[in-house]
Amino acid sequence: MRSWLIRRLFLLFPTLFGVITCVFLMIHLIPGDPVEIMLGETAVAADKELLRHQLGLDKPIATQYILYLGNLLKGDIGSSIHTQEPVFDEIISRWPATAELAVAALFFAILFSVPLGILSAAKKDSVVDRGSLFLSLFGIAMPNFWLGPLLIIVFSIWLGWFPVSGRGGFLSVILPAITLGTAMAAILLRLTRSSILEVADEDFIRAARARGQNEFLVYSKHALSNALLPVVTIVGLQLGALLSGAVITETIFSWPGIGRLMIESIEARDYPMVQGCMLSIATCYVVVNFLTDLLYASLDPRIRLNR
């Protein structure tokens, strides 16, 4: 396990290094003069020069890159060109909201899909099974930027059960979590069902039935624990989709997370902030994927032996 872990860690660093390089190059790919784009054409020359100097754009690109890496090691990823506040501080202040939303969405997705997936497999080809497959088809096809407004119309405006937007208290997270978690729930529902069906005819399931265990226990204990592996993998992989989906969901619900910050920064052409958001989301995603791999390997020893 240790050598597998070292090898996996060894692969993690080049990826992170590549991500940092891509993010660094971002500002240099802007067609035209990035300073003029950030400040606007009407900005005075002195302001442009000041910003160019602040961003280090007046130095050769290799020097800029070395300085960028050096500052990154010190936790300095620049300052916002509008508020002059450190990007790092702003990003750190926004992550709790995104984490809260992602965890709530994940919670919703698992809570909705796993029991329904088990039920669907247990009652294969029944009305429940067909209904849940129908639901999952719509869940996958429904874009979150349409589902969000629909939920707002029905549950916030017509019924008045939840706040329309913003973050504050348990009720405010429910609609954003459903919006963000629906696609994941739909995928997990299908996966749980098919994973359970794959093990449903195995000897250990028949043995459990032969011992007189009730159907609930057979499915929830024996079948589910053996069907869990692909479900865990997809949960890990889908966390990336949750992070990118959060950009749109946070915009719809004015949720003050990292995604909303990124879109606000794009609108304000605050490129140091956009770079910081990208870097933090990508790093988080890479680390989460690494942890998923670890969990996967600890659940199934064959994985670390095969690599």
């Binding site: 891509c22 407004p149 990508a282």
Partner: protein, 268 residues
């Protein structure tokens, strides 16, 4: 059941493709024609889906919007497929350091989840249809490359490939004569699901104001325009979203059907 899924999916795609192709003939009004006096008006006898803030006919804008969605979907996924198959083919058949380098580049691109990289590219390049296609192609090829590489790695040890190799077949001949024809099924499935993902991504970018720009009709941009009027004019949001969902549903159903037909091992 399998064939029913495929038939329903293809019918839905056919419906929207016909609307896109015949837009000038079937759209009841000019999608750009404004009548400010009737802004946000609901449906009536002549404007079946009502009007937007500027009094433009929503049905006509949806019909023309289908052109954007399908155009972006088809072009992006076709370009991505060509690039991905080539790169995956090179990685799989060359092996060694070339393969390692390509896989590391893929790892780096995959570190940006979902449409995050596309959002960033659009932030840099600015909005517009061609930039949307470029941004989505940048990550769209990865799935095709991984499938092609994986297939080549599994086919490389087969006897007929070993025989072709031993008889001096070139890398190009191996790729186009042996590897690709045997990898076509998973690539077709990736093409279908990839197209659905691209259409949603284009609409998402337009929804965020980073994609197709007004006044050009796009379903994502229409959803964004309707957002401030959810309370007083929900039809602005309801119809473009419904069409987007139906088209994606149709492509997914067709993809599911294709997978069942081309890959009998798949369990549902």
């Amino acid at each position: 059941m399998k064939n029913i899924n495929f038939k329903i999916g293809v019918s839905i795609i056919g419906f929207f493709a016909s609307a896109a192709l015949l837009a000038p003939l079937i759209a009841p009004f000019d999608p750009y024609s404004q009548e400010l006096l009737y802004g946000l008006a609901g449906s009536d006898g002549s404007h079946l889906m009502g009007r937007d803030l500027l009094g433009r006919d929503i049905l006509s804008r949806i019909v023309y919007g289908s052109r954007v969605s399908l155009f972006v979907g088809v072009i992006t996924i076709t370009v991505s497929a060509v690039i991905g198959v080539l790169i995956g083919g090179i990685a799989g058949s060359a092996g060694g350091r070339t393969d390692e380098l390509i896989m590391r580049i893929i790892d780096i691109l995959l570190a940006f989840p979902g449409i995050l990289l596309a959002i960033s590219i659009m932030a840099i390049l600015g909005p517009g249809l061609s930039n949307v296609i470029f941004a989505l192609c940048l990550t769209g090829w990865i799935g095709f490359a991984r499938i092609t590489r994986g297939q080549i790695l599994s086919l490389r040890e087969r006897e007929y490939v070993v025989a072709a190799n031993a008889s001096g077949a070139s890398t190009g001949r191996l790729i186009f004569k042996h590897y690709l024809p045997n990898s076509i099924a998973p690539l077709i499935i990736e093409f279908a699901f990839g197209m659905a993902a691209v259409i949603v991504a284009e609409a998402g970018l337009s929804f965020l104001g980073l994609g197709v720009q007004p006044p050009q009709p796009s379903w994502g941009a229409m959803l964004n325009e309707g957002r401030p009027f959810l309370l007083i004019a929900p039809h602005l949001t309801a119809f473009p979203g419904l069409c987007l969902m139906l088209l994606v549903l149709g492509i997914n159903l067709a993809g599911d059907g294709l997978r069942d037909m081309l890959d009998p091992k798949t369990t549902r």
